[in-house]
């Protein structure tokens, strides 16, 4: 048995949770919701354990580093952070609806990590540029931000779904109140915004020590700023212009797309962060 094997069970559990959240959306019995939550919680427990195992394994190999240093590990952590932030939200708002659009993202991230042929799961030692104390804080804060944006995205889709359907199927009645969804979008986006701010700053401090400049207009830096600005516009427009509902939901979608491009798309542009190519 290896930690990679546990990651594949976790992938399955997140898939099951996604399907169960979908059942919960369309079927009246609350059983499906409970089962979905159970699957995602169990998945999160195993997921956490496997990350710790991988961490320990790197020490056993004499490498000794936090498992947050390549695309494989970042996808695993992204998936973990999404489920963590989603489950905390689910507990706090006592509503399981958003899971149907949030947990599949976590499933896709972890599935992509293990299925894609271009991504190695080998534990490699760190090259000099990555040997920094700022690595862990930078990666953790950025991905917590990304995860919060994912929750905002899921809630945004739910909002649009509830409002866009002209013929209302029965299940839309069971969706949360638009006011609650609106608050959920705003609060997740604000949480993500703060995490992203700290993430950009820790990255900037790291760049100051590693490259000699706190800002180099590297495409990844620029795109993180684009994402930050999109959410800044979103939060301003809600607070100052009083925009609510549909516009916020659309912003959550645009912001999510920009975040995904910052994370994955930018690697295809030339720059200092392009670890995907190796």
């Amino acid at each position: 048995m290896s930690h990679e094997m546990i990651f594949s069970w976790v992938t399955f559990l997140y898939f099951a949770a996604s399907v169960l959240y979908l059942f919960r959306l369309v079927l009246p019995r609350e059983f499906w919701g409970r089962a979905a939550s159970f699957c995602s919680r169990t998945g999160l427990v195993f997921h956490t354990a496997a990350i710790i195992w991988r961490w320990k394994e790197s020490y056993d190999l004499g490498i000794g580093r936090i498992p947050l240093t390549n695309l494989y590990e970042s996808l695993i952590f992204f998936s973990w952070a999404i489920v963590l932030i989603y489950l905390i939200t689910e507990l706090r708002i006592k509503n399981k609806s958003a899971g149907v659009f949030v947990v599949p993202v976590a499933f896709l991230a972890i599935a992509y990590a293990s299925i894609s042929s271009g991504i190695t799961s080998k534990i490699e030692p760190l090259i000099p540029a990555l040997q920094s104390n700022w690595l862990a804080t930078h990666v953790i804060t950025c991905f917590m931000g990304y995860a919060a944006f994912t929750v905002a995205f899921g809630s945004g889709i739910l909002y649009l779904l509830k409002n866009a359907l002209s013929v209302k199927p029965v299940f839309t009645d069971r969706l949360p109140d638009p006011v609650l969804l609106d608050a959920l979008i705003y609060r997740s986006a604000a949480l993500g915004f703060i995490f992203l701010t700290v993430g950009i700053m820790t990255g900037s401090i790291w760049a100051h020590y590693a490259w000699g400049s706190y800002w180099s207009w590297d495409p990844k830096e620029t795109w993180s700023l684009i994402t930050w600005l999109i959410y800044a516009i979103m939060l301003h427009s809600q607070y100052v212009r009083g925009w609510r509902g549909r516009k916020m939901a659309l912003f959550a979608l645009i912001g999510f797309a920009s975040m995904l491009f910052t994370y994955l798309g930018v690697n295809y542009l030339p720059g200092l962060h392009s670890y995907l190519k190796s």
């Binding site: 490699e124 030692p125 090259i127 000099p128 540029a129 040997q131 920094s132 006011v179 609650l180 608050a183 705003y186 609060r187 604000a190 949480l191 915004f193 703060i194 701010t197 700290v198 700053m201 900037s204 401090i205 790291w206 100051h208 020590y209 590693a210 490259w211 000699g212 400049s213 706190y214 800002w215 207009w217 495409p219 620029t222 795109w223 700023l225 684009i226 600005l229 999109i230 800044a232 516009i233 301003h236 427009s237 100052v240 212009r241 930018v266 542009l269």
Partner: protein, 480 residues
């Protein structure tokens, strides 16, 4: 972008008394620059510039570009500085407008915030107890003193400290938290301005430069990055040693330069420079950025005459040295890390009167000779004792490197660092410490006591309302 079409002037703009004295155009201009719509439009434009900049190649080869598109097309792109967007007039204009917008917006709104900050919770703002939802109202039987105590304990429980005032409308309990949160937004805006100031200070008074230094050599001038300008330093930097280590898989493990900083022929500072661990000397920061192998290899040689061993002689290809005992000069013809798969070796030329000898000194000559019996008679040039009575021996060879350093002076860094801290603090205040107020009125209505609660929050009003509902529910349960 769906909001670009809307006009900029219909922003809700809070006028303060001072502005009323301004002429009409100035007011219009002020309202234009302080409008949040302008902020949003500017931010959208900046985002578009960024997107363009990441897709257009920045700093491309101009001639190649001329071939790819047309030379005239390249000319247009260049004149607009589209290949250096972050230093283009377009970008500078946008950033100036944004700064102006931030300043006017903050300055014009600040008096209102200050007024709000100074306003006491009591008396409550007009309309506080109008249109109250039924879950914020409790009708209670009971005596005023006892119910008052329940209200007090529950408000203390949920909101902390509170005050109470008797009025002709009944008793008003009120509590407030996070009043300073009103200023969070100004802290964030100030931090952005400070950051822009830091960036400007850095680009005006700082510089970035690169320099390559060979091991054992020193430099006192550097090449400014992105140009051919040379900047002289008032000290020199010597690379004492460069080390590169690799992992088993071939990936680099360590790049390290041992540097000495020399002023007036005096070593003032010595230090090891590693990636992620810059060195600072005389307000310049030094970064390890690259390295390279030098063609010449350093070797150390000894010789012995009748069993007496000489001191080590350090040589490179082309060097000459002298053997005083024999009064002969020796020229180093070649220094090799690995020749003929036999390991490190140097080729020497000894010029004595009447004879010129050229021969090889192998590092592992003992092993080579043992594996090939009769080697020296077959191949005399392999014999390290060919020039009798001197026997040479190659002690070790070493690859020579140069280290590539990046040198930065940026007086803007402290500003940027402070602004980063301010921004995080400001955002935490804005989003997580909202200004929250609650008023609870207790009044008689016939034989009943009516409890009415109302609250305002600068963030997440819905969450605050929920908490108030819980509070009222709590009072209702306790009082019955």
């Amino acid at each position: 972008m769906f909001f670009l079409t809307t006009t900029i002037f219909d922003d809700k703009f809070q006028q303060t008394q001072g502005e009323n004295r301004l002429p009409k155009q100035a007011k219009l201009l002020l309202s234009f620059f302080s409008s949040v719509k302008l902020t949003i439009v500017l931010l959208v434009l900046i985002v578009l510039v960024f997107i363009l900049a990441t897709f257009l190649p920045q700093h491309p080869d101009v001639q190649e570009l001329g071939r790819k598109i047309s030379p005239a097309g390249a000319e247009i792109f260049l004149s607009l500085r589209l290949f250096d967007l972050y230093h283009s007039p377009l970008f500078y204009i946008l950033m100036s407008l944004l700064s102006l917008n931030l300043i006017t917006c903050s300055v014009s709104r600040f008096p209102a915030s200050l007024k709000q900050f100074r306003t006491s919770c009591f008396p409550e703002p007009p309309g506080t107890f109008d249109n109250i939802a039924s879950d914020h109202i409790a009708l209670l039987d009971g005596e005023k003193y006892a119910v008052g105590k329940i209200v007090e304990s529950s408000i203390r429980n949920k909101c902390g400290t509170f005050k109470k005032t008797e009025t002709e409308r009944g008793t008003i309990f009120y509590s407030e938290r996070g009043r300073f949160s009103l200023f969070g937004v100004y802290v964030v805006h100030l931090s952005i301005l400070l950051m822009i100031a830091g960036a400007i200070a850095g680009s005006l008074f700082g510089f970035e430069a690169d320099v390559n230094i060979k091991e054992g050599e020193s430099v006192d001038s550097v090449i400014i990055a992105g140009s051919k300008d040379i900047r002289r330093l008032d000290f020199s930097v010597r690379c004492d040693k460069f080390t590169v280590e690799f992992y088993e898989n071939g990936a680099p493990k360590t790049y390290r330069s041992d540097l000495s900083f020399i002023r007036n022929n005096h070593v003032e500072h010595k230090g090891a420079l590693l990636v992620n661990h810059p060195l600072t000397f005389a307000d310049l920061r030094f970064y390890q950025t690259s390295y390279g192998e030098l063609p010449d290899i350093k070797a150390s040689l000894t010789y012995s005459i009748a069993g007496r061993k000489s001191a080590e002689i350090f040589i490179r290809e082309g060097d000459q040295f002298f053997i005083p005992e024999q009064k002969v000069g020796v020229e180093v013809l070649r220094v090799e890390e690995n020749i003929m798969q036999l390991g490190p070796a140097v080729k020497l030329k000894v010029s004595a009167p009447g004879k010129d000898l050229q021969f090889w000194i192998f590092r592992h000559i003992k092993e080579i000779a043992a594996a090939n019996p009769g080697l020296f008679s077959k191949v005399p040039v392999f014999n390290p004792g060919l020039f009798k009575p001197v026997v040479f021996s190659l002690e070790h060879t070493e690859q020579q490197y140069f280290t590539g350093l990046h040198i930065v002076k940026d007086p803007g860094v402290p500003f940027v660092a402070v602004s980063g801290a301010l921004m995080v603090a400001g955002l935490l205040i804005v989003f997580f410490m909202p200004h929250r107020r609650i008023w609870i009125r207790m009044e008689h209505s016939g034989t009943k006591l009516v409890i009415t609660a109302s609250g305002r929050s600068s963030r997440n009003q819905a969450g605050w309302e929920r908490l108030i509902t819980e509070l009222v529910q709590f009072i209702r349960e306790k009082a019955t």
